[in-house]
């Protein structure tokens, strides 16, 4: 989880004004360098562990940011602004995926298997078949959360943001973030009651 903690620190930091690149292109390249790892990681969590889709979504989010960068007026931190773009792109991707799955279902075509089955992570505790099954259930539980609860759970518990930082990114009141977090945890604990089994 060191990477997640590092990402939280990066998000919390503000680029010093003196270090700001001069041209929009330089500013964009700096944004990519600073945010690419966190962007892919966040998209990965939000998409339930689909690495390929996470990279695609992150690429699209960066492209959108590139086109919108000239209009960025600094009302929020650049990383916060970009995180919003990324989360919107994730929502767009999931909406398209939903439509695609329904369209395929109409023709009796089974959708693609879960990404974790297609491309299981090699170095995690989910390397055995039994744990992979649990991992798929975790994925379903995470993706089954309402969008607001899922965002809050991922940002706070997987990305390591504070409630205040999460509230800023999602433009919500801190009390709303806490409420989402409470409900998300309650639901996940109910659905993944046997999670302790994966511990070594």
């Amino acid at each position: 989880m060191a990477n997640e903690r590092k990402g939280a620190v990066e998000l919390a930091s503000t680029l010093p004004t003196t270090d700001l690149p001069t041209s929009p292109r330089q500013q964009f390249e700096r944004l990519v360098t600073d945010e690419r790892e966190r962007a892919v990681r966040l998209a990965y969590h939000m998409l339930g562990g689909d690495r390929a889709a996470a990279e695609d979504v992150a690429q699209e989010a960066f492209l959108r940011a590139y086109h919108a960068l000239p209009a960025f007026r600094g009302a929020a931190r650049l990383s916060t602004w970009f995180t919003r773009i990324l989360l919107n792109q994730v929502a767009t991707h999931r909406r398209r995926q939903w439509v695609r799955d329904r369209f395929l279902a109409l023709w009796g075509v089974a959708g693609a298997p879960p990404a974790l089955i297609r491309d299981p992570p090699p170095t995690t505790a989910a390397s055995s078949l039994r744990d992979l099954g649990l991992r798929v259930r975790m994925q379903r539980a995470l993706l089954g959360l309402p969008q607001g609860q899922q965002r809050v759970f991922v940002l706070v518990h997987l990305e390591g943001l504070t409630v205040a930082q999460t509230a800023e990114v999602l433009e919500l009141a801190p009390g709303t973030v806490k409420s989402h977090l409470h409900r998300a945890l309650k639901r996940l604990r109910l659905e993944l009651d046997d999670l302790r089994e994966v511990e070594p």
């Binding site: 990477n3 390249e29 360098t33 892919v40 590139y66 995690t124 649990l134 975790m138 518990h157 604990r189």
Partner: protein, 151 residues
Amino acid sequence: MSVHQDERRDDAGDRRFVDRFRKAWGPVEFSPRAATAFSARLLARVDGGGRRRLGLPTLIGVAVVAAMAVAVWIGRVGSLPDVDWLASLADAESVLSSSTVLDAEEATDDAGVDGDATDADNEDLELNHEYQMLLAWVAPSDQELEDGWTP
């Protein structure tokens, strides 16, 4: 047990659950090589004008237009048997009008045996009327012929 004790126990349970969740979920590997490849791919897309893949709405639009084109084509092909059917009807009419029975009645009529219209006359007129109507429907108008209409 007090409410505060319950809340503390819940908080501790939540923390343990989150720790277990993180362990089971595992880290997201992003090697320096993958990071470099990611940036190179992204900057190439930026330099290439940010060309986007065809989205689902675009694909659906293309599919609908293609389906309409196929439907129009099938409609044109499907209308050909109708034209053949009309032609065969006209042929049948001409055969019928020249049949022996009609010819015989016509001959009788021509000989002045029956001054009124015979059944053959009536049937012939009726068929002829229908045929003219069909011809008017099928045959291109003068304006269409001027416009270069071809069957």
